[in-house]
């Protein structure tokens, strides 16, 4: 899939006005633990940023701060030029524009697959039921689970559930999609079906922040790899540069442990 990322390496060329998500000087503590330390990260429109790093490095927390599922102690986060508001109507409106895919899928267990995908459209976007369903079926077909529309999440495999979760997020026409370890809870044989959907999204120009341990995906789909360790961004580079020639010792150590199996 080398031809996939047509915009690979293009982040240098993107003008500053194309910045969609900007984190500046973000800090967060969990009690005594300083999980995010002076994080500065800018994600351009259409860019695919993959965040990797060892467990406990703060990469999931980073992902969750972007739609304020985690609050931050200091610093600033803005999406499309607007700083994240406090909890309330404003924030809800902003979250609707930010799609999120979780490690544990989190499909609404008491609703069918179709209802999962129409709920946000109907209740947040105020779309009428008929066109919401039409769009939902289209998206479910696109992620390859169209035939499961009337089942409940518990009747689906993990890979199918995660693809429904992606469809649910896409139904809101998000400006940016956040993926918080989307394949970490999946059986190995189901990882690819989810990654393929994500590859396709990246190809279609969706702005994505992906926290993952899938180095193959990082290589093939990312415009930029962000390596985190101990709450800091240690290294940022294009996938080619990062995987073939990591600059920091921490990244070298990390890569030596996960590659070459």
């Amino acid at each position: 899939m080398s031809g996939v990322s047509v915009t690979k390496g293009a982040e240098d060329a993107v003008p500053a006005t194309g910045d969609l998500v900007v984190l500046s000087n973000v800090n967060k503590h969990f009690g005594a633990l300083h999980v995010l330390q002076d994080i500065d990260l800018t994600i351009a429109r259409g860019e695919v940023v993959v965040v990797i790093g060892p467990s406990g490095s703060g990469k999931s927390t980073l992902c969750r701060t972007i739609n304020r599922l985690e609050t931050i102690d200091s610093g600033e986060i803005s999406i499309d030029g607007k700083p994240l508001p406090q909890e309330g109507r404003e924030l809800a409106r902003l979250r609707a524009d930010v799609g999120m895919v979780f490690q544990s899928f989190n499909l609404f267990a008491h609703k069918t697959v179709l209802e999962n995908v129409t709920l946000g459209q109907i209740k947040v976007r105020r779309t009428d039921k008929k066109s919401a369903e039409e769009k939902a079926r289209g998206l479910l077909d696109r992620v390859g689970v169209g035939s499961q529309a009337d089942k409940y999440p518990a009747q689906l495999s993990g890979g199918q559930q995660q693809r429904v979760a992606i469809a649910r997020a896409l139904a809101m026409d998000p400006k940016v999609m956040l993926f918080d370890e989307p394949t970490s809870a999946l059986d190995p044989e189901m990882i690819n079906e989810v990654l393929e959907v994500m590859q396709q999204l990246a190809r279609d120009g969706m702005t994505m922040v992906v926290v993952t341990h899938e180095m193959g995906f990082a290589r093939s789909a990312a415009n930029r790899v962000v390596f985190m360790a101990d709450g800091r961004i240690v290294e940022e580079a294009t996938p080619d540069a990062f995987f073939s020639n990591p600059r920091s010792d921490r990244a070298k150590d990390f890569l030596s442990k996960i590659l070459h199996h």
Binding site: E87, D97, N106, H110
Partner: protein, 224 residues
Amino acid sequence: MFDFLDSGQYDLLGAFWVTVQLTLYSAVGSLIWGTLLAGMRVSPVPLMRAFGTAYVNLVRNTPLTLVLVACSLGLGLTLGITLGGQDFKAMGFRLAVLGLVAYTGTFVCESLRSGINTVPVGQAEAARALGLSFFQVLTLIVLPQAFRSVVAPLANVLIALTKNTTVASAISVAEASALMKTMLENETSALFAVFAVFAFGFIVLTLPTGLILGWVSKRVAVKR
């Protein structure tokens, strides 16, 4: 032995009908009030949380007799709140329902709150991530799943409520146990028969409640 049943002197069915009505109105009322209380107890607004907690702990720990007498004497006779009841009988009935709702609502609230705790936090997170408001997350995602997991405990509350309606006789509502007292005074020779009749009456009301809701609880359980 059960001659007193044929005498036509006692309106047994009528008395139990009052019990059934007390139960039904109070059940619906306490379900609504209990849900509102549970909403308050998980709300992000500190004042609502404080009210919910204070109310539940105060009313739950007050004897029901006291609650009902307070409704009847305090609200009804002293403050003149009749809830639209035209005569003494209607007023007593309505105040009894009010007291039962106020009391039983706390138990519904606490059952429901334990049900809310069974809903994985990721469900609410996913809903918030879609842009749903707190109220929408609660009513569309969390409460529907919470209710499904507490049908069996709610059946307990409903059975307790059915039996608690007997306390309404303390404020002169003519329900089953009020009639029982009258009959016990008149039919001293058939004391145990009278007891048996009323015990049977309550079992007829409560046993199906438990069985049916037990079945419902299995049917609606959320599969994860």
